[in-house]
């Protein structure tokens, strides 16, 4: 008897959650007006999946976005931890198992994730035209309208705009190498103090280096095998020549950005990098980086990158997803986010399109203390390359540099 009841219990457990994939009628958001979308979203829960690797970003979401959404729209926002690769993995898994309702509604994505999700046909859209905030978005800016050379076409909504920056300690290096060319000499003169993280930011650095070699326009547009081969070979030759002067003689590379940040904070290496040009300020505030840390962009420039919010094709809560994204794009949320004390993320709104009161506010955002001025580095901004470049660089950096002895 006892045995059977245990068996029964286990079976119940096993199948208890299988039944809850009931279909419910969703509002046709493409036809509905904004008010009825807000109405339909009221009282619902929205599942957002995002990278949670930064305490300040987490704090912004936790103590500003969540309460505001609850208060203004009656929406409960649930934040799930997961980077691009996890989102793609989930979308792939759901597609393969034929799920009709996704575990998540909204995802924080950028170029390579966007590319993969579109490969899988896992994104809902176009939807950006439905959002009231969309009128303020700076679509004229090519850095926003194109993501990794792919037209966005309303399939993802811009959220923030950042640029790759070098971070260094001004007490140790009073004048950092002003360009990629000078960086080479610097590395040779200071062996053991420079390395490239073998992850997303590191690849963005390599891409910037590639563009610095090839020239701004040369690699624009779709992936070009011959051009890639030509310029990447030059880059690998250069890196292999510098390799003996890298940290650990180039025998090893940090696997995550956080490791590099720690190596930098402790003075083991002299440079770290950030895809967010404002990060240096908030890392100093947290006591993670030394006070004398500064960020800059070497000539001829680095990659500027916009990050976006996408909606999953099988999202269970479309109205909620739209309202959440609309709020995150709104002047108030964007303004809050741009302050260096909060996050220091560049806005995607065109300031001149905003109501005058907001224009003033945005123009008076507390100055960045240790990060470079946005207007200055804009002149040194490269557009992202087609996603295949990233995939190839990632593979080839391993085979052509890391594994070469």
């Amino acid at each position: 008897m006892k045995n059977q009841s245990i068996l029964f219990l286990l079976l119940t457990l096993l199948f208890s959650s299988c039944g809850n994939s009931e279909e419910h009628e969703q509002l046709n958001v493409q036809e509905a007006d904004w008010q009825s979308i807000e109405q339909a979203a009221k009282g619902t829960t929205v599942q957002l999946m995002m990278w949670q690797g930064d305490p300040l970003i987490n704090k912004y979401m936790q103590s500003y976005v969540k309460p505001q959404l609850q208060e203004q729209y009656g929406i409960t926002l649930e934040i799930n931890s997961g980077q691009g690769k996890d989102i793609v993995g989930l979308a792939l898994g759901e597609k393969e198992t034929g799920k009709t309702e996704s575990e998540i509604d909204v995802a924080w994505i950028n170029g390579e994730t966007f590319y993969q999700l579109r490969q899988l046909d896992a994104l809902y859209g176009p939807f950006t035209e439905l959002l009231p905030s969309n009128q303020y978005v700076n679509w004229q800016n090519p850095f926003i309208a194109r993501d990794f050379q792919q037209p966005v076409e309303g399939m993802e909504a811009p959220w923030g705009n950042v640029q790759l920056a070098f971070i260094y300690n001004s007490e140790i290096i009073p004048t950092p190498p002003a360009s990629f060319a000078e960086l080479e000499t610097y590395i040779q003169n200071n062996p053991g103090t420079f390395t490239i993280p073998n992850e997303f930011t590191g690849m963005t650095l390599l891409k910037s280096w590639l563009i610095a070699q090839a020239g701004k326009e040369e690699l624009a547009g779709e992936f070009d095998e011959t051009k890639y081969k030509k310029y990447s070979r030059q880059l690998w030759q250069k890196l292999n020549k510098l390799k003996p002067y890298f940290w650990k003689e180039g025998q090893n590379y940090p696997a995550t950005l956080s490791q590099l940040h720690q190596l930098y904070a402790n003075g083991e290496v002299r440079f770290t990098f950030s895809n967010n040009d404002g990060e240096v300020d908030n890392k100093i505030l947290q006591g993670v980086f030394p006070e004398s840390s500064r960020a800059y962009v070497p000539a001829p420039g680095t990659i500027q990158n916009t990050h976006y919010l996408g909606i999953m094709k099988n999202a269970g809560n479309l109205p909620g997803a739209l309202v959440v994204i609309n709020f995150l794009q709104s002047p108030e949320a964007q303004y809050q986010k741009a302050s260096p004390q909060v996050w220091g993320d560049g806005t995607v709104l065109a300031i001149n399109k905003l109501p005058v009161a907001w224009q003033e506010k945005f123009n008076n955002i507390p100055a960045r203390q240790h990060a470079p001025d946005r207007a200055t580095i804009q002149k040194r901004a490269f557009e992202e390359l087609a996603p295949e470049y990233m995939i190839r660089l990632y593979d080839d950096f391993r085979t052509e540099v890391i594994e070469q002895n």
């Binding site: 690797g53 393969e96 575990e103 890392k283």
Partner: protein, 253 residues
């Protein structure tokens, strides 16, 4: 004398580890070559324990999951272990029990992830519970093998031959005999769940945030002060169990 010095060194090395974590958890600005941080503050503790409730929720979730996994696997392991111990090809059955247990949890997670997606259990606490059961249950089965010795089985048979009903035998003969082992198994399977990372991450999809998942997150946040604090929290309950009874943490063979 030399022996005494060595044991003292060993003991203090172990203690210092915990002190080191304690120091980092209240530190800020720990730059080379300072051995101590430049500033001390309770900010991490305050933020994590008072401000954000993430850590409290993680703690609660880990406890609930741990207790659930422990109860289910101990009970089912106890009953099924008996059945296996009487099986004709006992060793072959046991070998099967080692399968999930020896596989790398991440590799196992990769292989079973689709099943959980298919049944809608991924991203749910129930899915993670079942996933951890895949590890804890075979452990319990193997664990109780030593209990179902020839003598115990004979004792049970005697009791039944004498006319005692099965329930009586269970309550008055088997359970008292097994009580210490049941308790140990309970805590050890609790710990399997408590420390589990691979399956929890892959099946929980980042939605089921146990304490272990949070520790990993903090380690990757490049904020060593938060990571140290979370590490302390994760080591605390096992240390407490240890203080209650060493056997809860470790059992020889």
């Amino acid at each position: 004398m030399g022996r005494k010095i060595l044991t003292t060194i060993l003991a203090s090395a172990i203690l210092l580890t915990f002190l080191f974590f304690g120091m980092l958890s209240v530190g800020q600005a720990w730059f080379y070559p300072g051995i101590l941080p430049q500033r001390f503050s309770l900010q991490s503790w305050q933020e994590l324990l008072v401000g954000q409730s993430e850590l409290q929720e993680g703690l609660l979730l880990s406890l609930v999951l741990g207790v659930g996994v422990a109860i289910l696997s101990t009970l089912s392991g106890f009953v099924i272990s008996k059945e296996i111990s009487r099986a004709k090809y006992k060793n072959r059955w046991l070998l099967l029990a080692y399968w999930p247990f020896v596989l790398s949890p991440v590799v196992l997670a990769i292989l079973v992830q689709r099943f959980f997606l298919l049944t809608g259990m991924s991203g749910e606490v129930i899915g993670v519970l079942l996933g951890q059961l895949i590890l804890a249950f075979p452990f319990a089965v193997i664990f109780f093998q030593s209990f179902w010795s020839h003598e115990v089985l004979q004792l049970e048979e005697q009791s039944q031959t004498l006319g005692a009903p099965a329930a009586y035998t269970l309550q008055n003969v088997l359970l008292p005999l097994a009580k210490p082992l049941l308790l140990i198994c309970f805590f050890q399977t609790f710990l399997i769940s408590w420390f589990e990372y691979g399956l929890t991450q892959f099946i929980g999809l980042g939605k089921v945030k146990t304490l272990t998942i949070l520790v990993f997150k903090y380690v990757n946040e490049a904020n060593i002060f938060h990571a140290a604090l979370a590490s302390l929290l994760i080591m605390l309950p096992p240390a407490l169990l240890l203080w209650l009874n060493k056997k809860f943490i470790f059992r020889g063979i």
